[in-house]
């Protein structure tokens, strides 16, 4: 019941099944500051659950007062709205060699929506975390098996992290109630973290006095080098820039054709580890600075632009971002066993005519 080892072989039937269910952002949709809901990337581990009208959020464990909250109860609490860039921790996995067998993302598992909810901290204060609380465990209604472990999807945050003011119990996305695939009726939003932390279809929050040992915490989302490596937890989003592929596409190869002359290359850049301080556009291996726009919010991507004087012929464009914490995207991706946190620079092949 273990996982298949990373492979040097071609894509498997299992990876295809995942790729037809899950959804990346078509890269031209980087043009929208706020990703339309139906274009937002999506990674669902098990099935999208069918949520009952009787749903209530349970808050319990090591608290002074257990809570049971309806959606109306949550809507009656303080309300905050802001844009958040979410990225799947496995983005870029299918570019690794050998390739870990899981959802085979290339570059496209990122989006930015506007999320509305009530701060988690206020709810935890209402419940009253009792002394000794180390972590909060967030459990979704999605149930399944992964590598032989049957479980409800669950993730934890330390008590300190959970009290950060930007962490939301979100009930709206882009001004509408959540669609089923994005966690209706309620999901956790943990700005700056990879997608695995943003638990969808949230059923309960439990204060615990020991570190949570669940599958998604201690086995799935780790940086590790081999199967039994205890590894390091995956957390915040590493910096990445993506460009809108310029010109137009060939249907099958997605190769681009661009008219000669001055071309404005437009893209987005983000990091969960700091603010974006630099984006570079690479043209046939030569780097130049891009012009940075203002981020749409503290936890959202920014827009960047760079001019390119396109001469006829074959070219390779690339881009890379650096953040205020001193991280820059790698030209060669350090490998890890599960393909987590990859942020290899994007390359786009272009024919100028």
């Amino acid at each position: 019941m273990g996982a298949p080892e990373p492979t040097e072989g071609p894509l498997t039937a299992e990876e295809l099944q995942l790729a037809t269910r899950n959804r990346g952002l078509p890269l031209e949709a980087l043009r929208y500051d706020r990703t339309p809901t139906g274009l937002h990337y999506l990674l669902v581990h098990f099935d999208i659950p069918d949520v009952d009208a009787a749903w209530r959020l349970q808050v319990g464990g090591n608290v002074s007062k257990a809570l049971e909250l309806s959606l109306d109860d949550l809507r009656a609490r303080p309300r905050r709205t802001f844009p958040v860039t979410l990225e799947c921790a496995g983005n870029g996995r299918a570019r690794l060699f050998p390739r870990p067998i899981s959802q085979p993302w290339l570059d496209e598992a990122v989006s930015t929506a506007e999320w509305t909810g009530t701060p988690l901290g206020g709810i935890l204060e209402e419940a009253g975390l009792k002394p000794g609380t180390e972590e909060l465990v967030f459990t979704g209604m999605d149930h399944g098996v992964e590598k032989g472990y049957e479980h409800d999807y669950a993730r934890s945050l330390t008590a300190a992290e959970a009290m950060r003011p930007e962490i939301l119990l979100a009930y709206e996305m882009n001004g509408q109630p959540l669609e089923p695939q994005h966690g209706f009726p309620l999901r956790l939003i943990v700005p700056g973290w990879y997608g695995m932390a943003h638990v969808k279809w949230l059923a309960r929050i439990e204060a615990v006095t020991k570190p949570f040992e669940g599958y998604q915490q201690k086995m799935a989302y780790l940086y590790k080098q081999f199967s039994d490596d205890p590894g390091q937890p995956v957390g915040r989003i590493r910096p990445r820039a993506l460009m809108i592929p310029p010109g137009f596409a060939d249907f099958l190869s997605r190769r681009r054709t661009v008219e000669r002359g001055r071309v404005e290359i437009v893209g987005r850049a983000w990091s969960g580890l700091g603010s974006i301080v630099q984006v570079e556009l690479g043209v046939d291996g030569e780097w130049r600075l891009a012009k940075l726009g203002e981020p749409a919010g503290r936890f959202a991507w920014l827009r960047w632009t760079a001019e390119w004087d396109a001469a006829p012929g074959e070219h390779v464009l690339s881009c890379r971002a650096a953040d205020s914490a001193g991280n820059i995207q790698p030209s060669e991706q350090p490998w890890n066993y599960q393909g987590m946190g990859d942020n290899l620079i994007q390359t786009v092949k272009v024919t100028v005519r």
Copy 2:
């Protein structure tokens, strides 16, 4: 610049690129009568175009009065709303052997949304089709290259077909303006036909006096047996039934686990060639009749249910539909060169415990 030949080999990098851009319906979402917008399947040939606020629909060619219509103009015309089941003509392609190289759908390229628009016929009457009009050509704003042919996506309908009352110029989906990926600001809806007919990002309609010879009409969407076969046009949707895979999933294999005892299997069935008259559930190769619900509309799928007394062990479930035109889904899929109109019965492997 031709197409690669169908292959007996594993999935290619080009197919993966398409699979991460395009989106199938996660099969558990068959539970919704009306597919939420963000769950609707999606096949985009080139890039999603960035539509200018100055957009106008042009109606011209062999007409008495050329028209130029804004979205407000179209909204001022008679308004109709009804549900329509759309399916990609390539659904099931990746189950063929040899496998045509294109978007590698398994079973999931189908959805049902509620579309709102004004009947095409009324607009054509306003423009006045002049004698000799054979076809109407519908051209989108999406531009690219396919098998060496650079073009704007375009499809035609015969004048008789175009005047059918159910054909809409649609500006809303599920009660909201179209999202960009579904054709904003306007798309054609041709109920009963495979997805290629429902031209998105509609820019112009032209009345022509000869059959349209465009790439998407005369080369792409054909039933053919070899590369140079002139083939037969792909048109209406063949019957198909799909079930919601019961129980819960393994993340990677999608294999299902079901608890023993009475299980209600639920699914959908549709046909563009007639009404659905029969759905059968197969259990380990033995067929039984399913119970049919009412279709949500004349051009929408119906819900079906079947009881299964699940005994511990390994089982294979399948389902198949038949329509009033005498079509039934095949147990062995007749092959065609481009993988069009496949409607092989679905099979779901289940472990009962």
